[in-house]
Amino acid sequence: MTITPILRLKNLVKRFGSFTALHETDLDIIEGEFLTIVGPSGSGKTTLIRLLVGMDSPTEGEIWLRDKRIDQMPANTRPTCMVFQSLALFPHRSVGENIEFPLKIRGVRASDRRLRALELLELLRLPDTYYDKRIHQCSGGERQRVALARALAFDPEILFFDEPLSALDYRLRKTLEKELKDLHSRTGKTFVYITHSLEEAMVMSDRIAIMRAGRFEQINDAEGIYARPESKFVAEFMGEVNLFDVEGTSNGGLHSKGVEVHVNGAAQEIGIALEKGDTGTLMVRPEFVRFLSSTETTDFIVTGVLRGEYALGSRIQYQVEAADGSILTVEKLREDRYEGALDESVILGWDVENTHLIRGD
């Protein structure tokens, strides 16, 4: 199945003087998808979105919107639109006037504008009475919705978001994340969202692109990024993780270089194997690691000493110190709580189907 992308980046580069903020980047954005670009600050994600909306122009490369090249078009002539981190609502205009702004620019009649603004208020679940409210009378969440309504009034081909939820408190953010996902499916528009928060990306996105130092590290759906990261950076960026440096042995097995990991044969049978001399990293998420009794066995086994126990709400996190001093993380649901005492020896184990091998360093 071939899907024509709505937006295609070809070899896009952005340099500021001698500093390269964005290295040669190719990306296809599929019509109607919710793509989230995640990365720590300084990873180039803001540079990228500024190129995409037209607030900056690329040093090299092309941006194609369907069959039209847009990289040299200024922002005000592009059929795309962005929700700013600061929301950038116009403080001197009412809620209604803010929403109507793009329509006013296009010369839509006042009565039609008002009708559309009221429709959008309804779509975003704001009461009609907000039409005449001042921006400073709205709460943070309401302003968020007004900014969204204004962007939707523009009727963009692609809607960009530059971390618009980052200034809100946790609970409101969680609510709005779900609303945004819901809005995406109701409008059917292409959403491209930028954030430094992995959680936000996981909740909302069809695809997640991880950025690091001006490059895409990996692009995949949430499951793929979480369970099958292509690099240690992605593995660590996507939450708590246990990583073990390994290398291939002459008999096709694995030999652990740091923490002593006992491998129970099965490994190479299902593809977790390395050529002799090649290195890699074994990854297992904390929720897949179990505390073993002396009679149980699993594909991978590590011994250590229980050093800490922390309540994380619905889950409990345990920290186990391995023989070489490094700390492993285990997470259990509250009902599966481990009953051992601190500073006692424990045996940790997990199975091969929950294990992922990252090749290379």
């Binding site: 639109c81 116009f90 204004r150």
Partner: protein, 284 residues
């Protein structure tokens, strides 16, 4: 707690309040009182009449008033149009160069207004810097460009330029960059951004700058005297004449009162329309 704060505030304001009442309100009161005295008197103890105001109306002083206000208006509008691009650049484009410009403009204020105007006088008069060079280079002879209304307005613009520039730059600095970017992203052209975003959001600076230059220009005297010669007589000139050569304090006072009331109502109307706190740096 709040009431104690208010009391303390009032208490600490008392010294300045006393100075203001004695040095500002009291003289105004005296002027107001003199304006309703019979003409040519030097005492405020006469029975009040309004003959000074009657003279003001019958003797054609309204012409001087019209010249003062008219030239103030033209110079204010011109100043606004001239200052906007520079103020915009100072607030949004120039970075460290803004400081250099600010210092340069402020330093010019260190030299007295009259001396700077004399400088222009020497430049623009017949045989001065301007006409002299033209004559020497091209052999064209003319009488200099002094003693007319445009040169008075030029003088007003020159002298009151900083009073428009700085408030305007302050006002433009208050326009959030992201609002301008968002407007552009939503399809607005540069002109639409100017009209829909810059002008309304910089309004406090525009109002303060316009008020300052208008009020100062309406009460200006030196420009019309030095550069304008006797081309037109402005209100401030009439007031000075009434108090000095005319020896008619009530008439001078009545003329002053008219000017004060007109300019004062402009100022109060303007100030009531803007939030001064926001231009002084406090957030709305």
């Amino acid at each position: 707690m709040n009431r104690i704060d208010q009391k303390l505030g009032l208490f600490s304001a008392i010294p300045l309040l006393i100075v203001l009442v004695l040095a500002f309100v009291a003289p105004l009161g005296v002027v107001a009182l003199f304006s309703i005295m019979p003409q040519k008197t030097f005492s405020v103890l006469n029975a009040p009449d309004f003959s000074a105001y009657a003279t003001l109306l019958s003797q054609g002083y309204w012409k001087s008033l019209a010249w003062s206000l008219g030239m103030a208006l033209v110079s204010t509008v011109t100043l606004f149009l001239l200052s906007w691009p520079l103020a915009f650049a100072m607030a949004k484009v120039f970075k460290r160069f803004t400081l250099v410009l600010t210092i340069a403009v402020v330093v010019s204020l260190f030299v007295s207004e009259n001396i700077r105007l004399f400088g222009w006088l020497l430049t623009l008069m017949k045989g001065g810097l301007f006409e002299g060079h033209i004559r020497a280079w091209f052999g064209v002879e003319f009488g200099g460009v002094l003693y007319n209304v445009p040169v008075i307005i030029f003088g007003l613009i020159y002298v009151y330029f900083p009073f428009m520039l700085f408030p305007l730059a302050q006002g433009i600095a208050m326009v959030p960059d992201d609002a301008r970017q968002a407007a552009s992203d939503l399809g607005a052209s540069r002109w639409r951004i100017l009209w829909e975003i810059d002008l309304p959001l910089a309004a406090p600076g525009i109002v303060v700058g316009s008020l300052l230059s208008f009020v100062l220009a309406a009460g200006a005297l030196a420009e019309s005297k030095l550069l304008g010669g006797q081309a037109v007589i402005v209100m401030a000139d009439e007031i000075e004449t009434a108090f000095t050569y005319g020896q008619d304090w009530p008439l001078g006072s009545a003329l002053s009162m008219v000017l004060i009331v007109i300019i004062g109502s402009f100022a109060i109307f303007g100030i009531s329309k803007v939030d001064l706190d926001s231009i002084m740096g406090r957030r709305r």
